[in-house]
């Protein structure tokens, strides 16, 4: 699967706009596992998306395909091999 990185966070992803991710292990892949993977591989990217308690930041949206995970199962949203996950700033982030 791939993670699309917004322009504001590319500095934390080695300048890349897309980051490939392969989730191994026995855990069924979900958004939490993907973000845990990012915490281990790109910690400065992950902490912009979740706070230190693992909660999604209020004005950050994570999409699986075209759907916001807040409209699915939040971080328990299941992921398949071909899914594209996009991190995007919400439009609600202040004046």
């Amino acid at each position: 699967m791939h993670v699309r990185v917004p322009a504001a966070l590319r500095h934390a992803a080695g300048g890349r706009s897309t980051v490939p991710a392969r989730l191994g292990g026995s855990r069924a892949p979900d958004v939490r596992a993907l973000l845990d993977h990012l915490a281990a591989t790109l910690p400065d990217l992950e902490r912009r998306v979740r706070d230190e308690q693992g909660a999604l930041r209020r004005h950050v949206n994570v999409f699986v395909g075209a759907t916001n995970v807040r409209d699915l199962d939040e971080q328990a949203t299941a992921l398949g091999d071909g899914d594209e996950v996009a991190i995007l700033p919400a439009v609600s982030g202040g004046a």
Partner: protein, 361 residues
């Protein structure tokens, strides 16, 4: 010697530099769209270190440092300040970055939201939670003020590393005399106007505390309503606002060289947060609050509805002290003569949240 003024605003950091404190060169915004509630200039190292608390509405809070006067900025991988997992808390904002005394090089305190105190021993690159305050039995009963439940003021003792005084909105004053292991509320004499019992042990809405390093037991305090002085290191407080046009306000700063001299910016009341008579005036005492005198030369005196937030007033450390005033209307006024006269040195900025100034280089 030049002077650097750090200006934290709701939408980024601005730096103003000058050689003679008459004309200023403005740079910025750095960290655009980040709210900069906390700025500090640590003048203890040979090369001063700048510290910035910058909060992105989207991407969360950060603490950056610069060892080249703002040309480049550093943040450690993983961030400078994180709540431990077992606290269940997450950093919302750094409200105060405060270098300790000269005898403690490398020690920097951070006051944050949710209300907690952190300590750094590496000049502000990384911080650890002060567990003695986090575990205080009062803490679950602390109530947030209008700005959230924030620890916004840290006043280290200039020579005794065991003694630190802090203020939390709206829990009031706490102090430690054992380096942060234990804390006691320290609000005796401060009125809690918003409370059925106006003199609870904690719950006061203290806005700012300052002291002069040469007279460390004398402290000044701007409360939600009332200005106070302590002569016993913060253990007890007495009112000193007679002679002021109003008792409400946010900032309070002490003169860098003259013990007993302090500056406040009165507002009419919490229900009318504008200066009395719609005139922008700083008030100064030179006798530890026995009397107050308005300073207005060069400040707007007609239809001026100007608010100054708690960290948006400061002094510098020049032989003739400079005083600086940042406004919610995005203007910065500077005085190079201890407040006698003022000039606007920056206009049309975002709301000013914090200012700090020092002689550098």
């Amino acid at each position: 010697m030049g002077t650097l003024l750090m200006i934290g605003t709701r939408k980024g950091l601005f730096l103003a530099r000058t050689d003679e404190r008459r004309s200023w060169a403005l740079e910025g915004p750095l960290f655009p769209m980040n709210a900069v509630y906390a700025v500090a200039i640590d003048t203890r190292p040979d090369t001063p270190r700048l510290l910035v608390g910058a909060d992105s509405e989207h991407w969360g809070p950060s603490i950056f440092t610069s060892d080249d006067l703002g040309a480049t900025w550093d943040e450690p991988e993983g961030g400078a300040l994180r709540f431990p997992a077992e606290t269940g808390a997450a950093l919302a904002r750094a409200w105060q970055l405060q270098p300790a005394g000269a005898d403690q090089p490398g020690v920097v305190w951070a006051g944050v939201e949710p209300a907690a105190l952190f300590r750094s021993d590496d000049g502000g690159s990384t911080f650890s939670l002060v567990e003695g305050l986090w575990d205080h039995p009062d803490r679950p009963q602390w109530m947030p003020g209008g700005g959230g439940l924030c620890l916004h003021t840290v006043v280290p003792h200039p020579t005794d590393p065991d003694r630190v005084v802090i203020a939390v909105s709206a829990a009031g004053v706490y102090r430690t005399e054992d380096g942060g292991r234990s804390w006691q509320s320290s609000n005796t004499g401060i009125t809690a106007w918003h409370n059925p019992d106006p003199h609870p042990p904690f719950g006061q809405c203290v806005h700012k505390i300052a002291r002069h390093p040469e007279r460390p037991d004398q402290m000044f305090l701007q409360n939600h309503g009332g200005v106070y002085r302590s002569d016993d290191g913060g253990a007890t407080w007495g009112e000193i606002h007679e002679g002021l046009p109003a008792t409400f306000g946010f900032p309070l700063v002490t003169h860098p060289h003259q013990p007993g001299t302090a500056y406040v910016y009165p507002l009419v009341a919490d229900a009318h947060r504008m200066p009395p008579d719609d005139r922008c005036r700083v008030y100064r005492t030179t006798d530890a609050g026995e009397s107050w005198h308005p300073l207005s030369a060069g400040l707007p005196q007609d239809h001026a509805y100007i608010t100054v937030l708690r960290d948006a007033m400061c002094t510098d450390d020049a032989p003739t002290a400079g005083v600086y005033l940042g406004t919610r209307t995005g203007e910065v006024f500077a005085s190079a003569d201890e407040g006698e006269s003022w000039a606007s040195i920056a206009r049309h900025l975002p709301d000013v949240l914090s200012v700090r100034a020092a002689q550098v280089g």
